[in-house]
């Protein structure tokens, strides 16, 4: 399988990429690591006029500590999160989430910005970013704006990123959570999580339980009211709309969400620190 005929342009730097986005919008499709886009193009599930390759925009590949937040550039590859000392010190959940992605080959190519823009409802890194209350920076030639990670995705594959914008950075507020947990349930080897949960202090986020990654507000409310882990976890699938497909039934996904939330909350209890 090869993609249909396509035009290709590699952006020399961010300024050029943004100028082209302003001028050509949807005619151009950003290409970062290609780990979601290329499979889609090969299967002809997606059609693109011109690929705008962001892969060499070195200025967007970084991890930086900026006092009240940890900034991660959009072109930072997953693999970097596994070994970066700043990630390890300030936002270790990002390393745990990145380690859950695919395999080393995918992690050597896939990027933080690509994962956010792809808006997959079961994606690992975006789940961690929602739990950590991170903010996504969207840039255009007109300037930048910030969107909470929890609001970026509006449906599978759809985000608030406009055709003239690019995802350029994600900011994780500091200090990070005192207690956190990241738990997934996946079928063996390579399989994406059926359901995954990330807990950061009082925030609980779920992947695989609806068209976008979401906060489990019922669980959070129960915890805020002083409920125990078991009672809070029982509300995990409130307001959720998991799919019913060949990989798992909706009922099974609901069950998984309650079990995983219970385990993640137990991880965060005072006796057991992650």
């Amino acid at each position: 399988m090869i993609p249909a005929s396509v035009r290709y342009h590699r952006a020399a730097d961010l300024a050029e990429a943004l100028e082209l986005r302003r001028a050509y919008g949807d005619l151009l499709r950003p290409l970062a690591g290609g780990q979601s886009l290329l499979p889609a193009l090969k299967l002809r599930r997606d059609r693109v006029d011109t690929l705008l390759d962001l892969g060499r925009i070195g200025e967007l590949s970084y991890v930086a500590h900026r006092g009240d937040h940890l900034a991660v550039g959009a072109l930072t590859r997953y693999q970097r999160l596994l070994t970066d000392p700043l990630v390890d010190r300030y936002a270790p959940m990002l390393a745990t989430a990145a380690a859950a992605v695919g395999d080393p080959q995918v992690r050597h190519a896939g990027t933080v910005g690509g994962a956010l823009a792809q808006a997959d409802p079961a994606a690992d890194l975006p789940l961690a970013l929602v739990a950590l209350d991170a903010v996504v920076v969207l840039a255009s030639t007109a300037g930048t704006r910030e969107v909470p990670a929890a609001e970026l995705a509006v449906g599978p594959g759809a985000t608030l990123c406009r055709p003239d914008e690019l995802v350029t950075e994600v900011r994780v507020p500091l200090p990070g959570p005192a207690r956190w947990s990241y738990r997934t349930f996946a079928r063996p080897a390579l399989e994406w999580s059926l359901v995954a949960v990330a807990v950061a202090d009082g925030r609980v986020a779920l992947a695989g339980m609806g068209p976008t990654i979401r906060r489990a507000r019922g669980v959070e409310a129960a915890l805020a009211d002083g409920a125990g882990a078991a009672a809070a976890a029982a509300r995990a699938d409130e307001d959720c709309d998991p799919v019913d497909d060949v990989r798992a039934s909706a009922a099974y996904r609901r069950h998984l969400s309650r079990v995983l939330v219970a385990r993640a909350l137990a991880d965060c209890s005072p006796e057991v620190r992650p």
């Binding site: 090869i2 005929s5 290329l38 395999d103």
Partner: protein, 167 residues
Amino acid sequence: MTVDARPGTEAVTVTTTVNGRADSRQVPARTLLVHLLREELGLTATTVGCDTSSCGACTVLLDGRSVKSCTLLAAQADGADVRTAEGLADGDRLHPVQEAFREHHALQCGFCTPGMVLAVVSLLDENPGPLTEHDVRRALVGNLCRCTGYHNIVRAVLALDAARQAG
């Protein structure tokens, strides 16, 4: 900056160093890296198993790191150093990872082997170890083998790691 012409072309020039040899050629933009290697350069050690980025048979090293060449455009490798299984041995002397695979009988039909060996080269290069059996199995999760049952592959990698830990 002003943009006057519509950006992009259907043909791209891809300049690479493959197994130490410089190469530059024009290919259609949609050309996958694996097709550049196999069909343009005639380097057929890199195999295509699943063609859906699941099996790892097409694994090559891009600037020293394992990637699946069925899921990258040749254009994305422009300017990069590419290594395939053909580029591992030094004349008649096998690369240490190849030698360990031979020693531990870590291959049968050999279809997965080029990708498997390159995934191991990347692993040993980026992880100083010591490696546990679990580390090795997790690092090779993207490389499927239908013959060996993996045990001898894992043994080969653990032996390599033990040897380098011993100095």
